[in-house]
């Protein structure tokens, strides 16, 4: 079972897109790939105030990811804790993973010629830290949730 998820508290989100840049800066990504994104719905009036809903999306880290078995070099790996990541050494940039993913989440890094995707900043997580987007969220709206089974 997946151990982690990222939760967005929509009440605190101000749609500043900080998370998107925090991610890119941490992963040292060039212009092009974007591993997480903030979106919002069309404004509607609620109690005479026009409001919108913000949503956050990175990778769903599927229980049974389509991207992993299709990878010809076994570079797409699902860890015990549920994190789906790309072994950059093995990746050949064929982007079969992107084709297999229903949301086309893996993207090509034009600088390395390899696929990249959200891995919850697993190097940080393994060091006891939180993903970059959560750590630096401008309004502390993003939370890194460690899931526990409730008996």
């Amino acid at each position: 079972m997946n151990k982690y998820m990222i939760y967005l508290n929509g009440k605190r989100c101000i749609g500043c897109h900080g998370c998107e840049v925090h991610c890119k800066a941490n992963k040292n990504l060039p212009v092009g790939p974007q591993l997480c994104e903030i979106d919002h719905s069309v404004m509607v009036k609620i109690k005479s105030v026009p409001k919108t809903e913000f949503t956050f999306r990175s990778c769903y880290h599927c229980e049974e990811p389509f991207c992993a078995p299709i990878c010809p070099t076994n570079a797409m790996i699902k860890r015990e804790d549920g994190i789906v990541y790309i072994d950059q050494e093995k990746c050949i940039g064929c982007m079969a993973c992107a084709g297999a993913c229903p949301w086309t989440i893996p993207q090509l890094n034009p600088e390395t010629g390899k696929a990249v995707k959200c891995d919850y900043c697993m190097d940080r997580v393994d060091a006891g830290l939180r993903p970059a987007c959560v750590t630096k969220c401008t309004t502390h709206a993003l939370k890194f949730v460690i899931m526990q089974e409730v008996v």
């Binding site: 500043c16 840049v21 800066a25 026009p50 969220c137």
Partner: protein, 704 residues
């Protein structure tokens, strides 16, 4: 080896505290200071390292090698550039006097050095960008409270109700203030938002007034009327500290909520319900007196009305209200030393202090140097040094400004980027980025004051220099070395801290020196002496304004409606850009490469404009047109069109943002003289524009 450095961000002028990790002179991690912001940082803050890698910035000193604005540059060494500037300045000084040189900066905690430089040179003419920003708010606070707009900080976290008139705080992003506001809302607090359009900030509001452009003053007057009619004000506070209350009561009698509702296009009942809430929430109600209120002809009086609303709440020095910022002295500590060369006793070239006596003499009013350039009265202006300030981007009508600036013998731009002014200037001195430079120690006043420090995290990549070194080197060449008694930043910090009990080591633990663990508050019953007006009271009828022949309570005049086919141009900010400074940053440009024109859906329908269509936006005199996509929305007033400021740049070395989007200030043709004689600021929302569906919308494909 990993190095961790506490510093101060420089992507915008909020200057949030940060911590930076580096390895081999590369940033590996950057975050908001955990001790103050819990790590929070905005998109701009994370895009700082991308700015360093961006080679579309000046990388060594440049001297113009063609006509002004031609974009032809000759790279030179620092000594050559310093000598060039110093020789010109000496010549100008001997021919026209030192006062013919103006230095403008972007303000902030380190401006003392720039100001001292020009004062030491012998000129009183230090100025900044504020006549296009906070001057109206500042002068309105001075006229009422005797202290400027920074004379109060807002205890939003503990407030019950925050009222924002066009203060789009979640796009301006002062992170600490934003966190306070969201905490307040989480605790059940209320947010009332007033604007001509719905914004990110308005989305979080509990009450939203979408008003007709230019009617903020009317709404504030209606609120004052209703509060006074219900006697829902703090009469003890008013008796103790305020003069002119009776005149106010008499003045606002005509401005009923019904009248205000009609004038602003809102519901009377909503105003009355709002006052119900305020009555329950006071004194923990904050009427934010505005920030960039250099907008309408009556913005100064709108800001005064907002300050008056605070006064009615009696919220000064109350928890959840307006707090008087405390300095080292209030904590029983000694303050730091700062370079402060007194202003030479010469009339200012912008007329502030002698022709216009009711304005703050500090930075004067930048736009009032233009008439002096033309008339040479009281003396000619011959040189302009711009320290990170870009007059062409912040003031209206850059083409007209070019005509004025072209009369000058020397134009210098000191900046991290190419600015539009820099592109037109004679010499560009590249300052290194905030991650590559140290700055002096600064005092951060507030309820819990502290000393802050910007410390470099990296060695500069380009042949760029920190500002202290630039001014020091120029000073040495102009025989002013005695005013800058240091040779390194370490010596400067030591000299600054000498009167205190601290050393630079004390910054290491948290990146700042906390002067008090507790919030320092004055007794609200003993605020006498805090209001530095002529009478020592809060003056609703200002003696200073009286002397200047200006009314303290100005009759409301309804703003004119735009002529047929035209719209009032309203500008603002996005959370991912700092005006024109960041539009060429690779990562921020990727997020928002151009701006769009917000237009009301009904108004757009009448013009046959659909969402996403290209529209031509033309200045009133039809001398400037830009083409952008229309953002057709429900929640903007039909008289207004809106765009994010900072786009439409024309610097060919900034390829990413070259001609991308449209510039509001270039559309404000002939608006350089449209300024407020009472508040001093330029009226930036008094321009109308023509909007047409562009012929560039393709109908069908013709090319192969």
């Amino acid at each position: 080896m990993t190095k961790s450095v506490y510093s101060i961000c420089g992507m915008c002028t909020v200057r949030c505290p940060i911590r930076v990790e580096t390895e081999n002179n590369k940033v590996t991690w950057i975050e908001g200071n955990q001790h103050l912001l819990g790590g929070a940082l905005c998109a701009k803050g994370s895009a700082g390292p991308a700015m360093i890698a961006d080679k579309e910035r000046p990388q060594q000193p440049l001297i113009r090698d063609g006509a002004r604005g031609s974009g032809r540059w000759k790279p030179v060494s620092w000594p050559t550039a310093y000598d060039y500037i110093a020789d010109k300045l000496k010549k100008i000084k001997s021919e026209y006097g030192p006062e013919s040189v103006v230095l403008s900066s972007r303000g902030g905690p380190w401006q003392g050095m720039y100001k001292s430089f020009i004062h030491a040179f012998g000129s009183p003419n230090y100025t900044n960008h504020d006549s296009t920003c906070g001057r109206n708010t500042h002068h309105s606070s001075l006229s009422l409270n005797g202290v400027g707009r920074k004379g109060f900080v807002y205890d939003i976290k503990n407030a019950n109700h925050l009222v924002l008139f066009g203060r789009n705080m979640f796009s301006s992003l002062r992170i600490a203030e934003n966190l306070q506001t969201l905490d307040m809302l989480d605790n059940g607090g209320k947010l009332t938002y007033v604007d001509v359009r719905q914004t990110i900030t308005g989305l979080k509001s509990t009450r939203f007034f979408q008003v007709r452009p230019g009617t903020d003053y009317a709404l504030a007057l209606g609120m004052i009327h209703e509060i006074i009619r219900r006697e829902a004000y703090d009469s003890d506070f008013i008796d103790r500290y305020v003069t002119g209350f009776d005149e106010l009561c008499y003045f606002v009698e005509q401005y009923t909520p019904a009248w205000a509702a009609k004038e602003c296009g809102v519901r009377e009942k909503a105003i009355k319900n709002f006052i119900d809430e305020v009555q329950k929430d006071m004194p923990k109600v904050i009427f934010h007196p505005g920030w960039n209120l250099s907008r309408y002809k009556d913005s100064f009086y709108a800001a005064r009305a907002l300050h008056i609303l605070n006064i009615l709440m009696g919220n000064i020095e109350q928890k959840g209200g307006l707090i008087i910022p405390k300095g080292p002295g209030d904590c029983g500590k000694k303050g730091i030393r700062a370079i402060d060369v007194p202003k030479p006793d010469i009339k200012r070239g912008d007329g502030v202090g002698w022709k216009y006596k009711h304005f703050d003499k500090g930075p004067g009013l930048g736009h009032l140097f233009f008439p002096t350039m033309e008339s040479e009265d009281p003396y000619p202006i011959k040189a302009w040094i711009s320290m990170r300030n870009d007059p062409f981007s912040c003031m209206p009508d850059p083409k007209r400004q070019e005509q004025y600036f072209d009369k000058l013998d020397l134009l210098v731009s000191i900046d991290v980027h190419y600015s539009e002014f820099g592109w037109f200037s004679d010499v560009i001195l590249p300052e290194c980025t905030y991650l590559e430079r140290d700055n002096g120690i600064c005092v951060q006043k507030g309820p819990k004051p502290r000393f802050g420090r910007r410390q470099k995290a990296l060695e500069p990549e380009n042949d760029s220099k920190p500002s202290w070194e630039i001014f020091k080197n120029l000073a040495d060449r102009l025989d002013m070395e005695d005013y800058f008694p240091f040779n390194s930043i370490e010596e400067y910090w030591k000299w600054q801290l000498e009167p205190t009990d601290y050393s630079v080591k004390d910054f290491e633990e948290k990146g700042f020196i906390s002067l008090s663990d507790e919030v320092v508050m004055y007794d609200p019953e003993k605020l006498d002496g805090q209001f530095k007006t002529p009478s020592g009271k809060i003056e609703i009828i200002s003696q200073k304004l009286d002397k200047a022949g200006l009314p303290s309570l100005k009759e409301y005049v309804s703003p004119i409606r735009p002529p047929k086919g035209m719209f009032r141009l309203v500008y603002g900010r996005s959370a991912v850009h700092t005006h024109g400074h960041t539009v060429n940053n690779p990562l921020l440009n990727e997020l928002m490469p151009k701006n769009s024109l917000w237009i009301n859906v009904k108004a757009a329908n009448k013009l046959g404009i659909a969402h996403g269509d290209l529209v031509d936006v033309t200045s009133e005199d039809e001398s400037y047109t830009g083409t952008v996509e229309a953002n057709v929305v429900d929640y903007i007033h039909s008289e207004a069109v809106y765009m994010v400021h900072g786009f439409g740049r024309e610097i060919s070395r900034q390829t990413r943002c070259l001609h991308a989007g449209i510039s509001d200030q270039k559309l404000m043709v002939n608006k350089l003289d449209d300024w407020d004689p009472a508040g001093g600021a330029i009226n930036l929302c008094e321009a109308f524009v023509i909007v047409r569906r562009s012929v560039r919308n393709p109908k069908r494909r013709v090319e192969l």
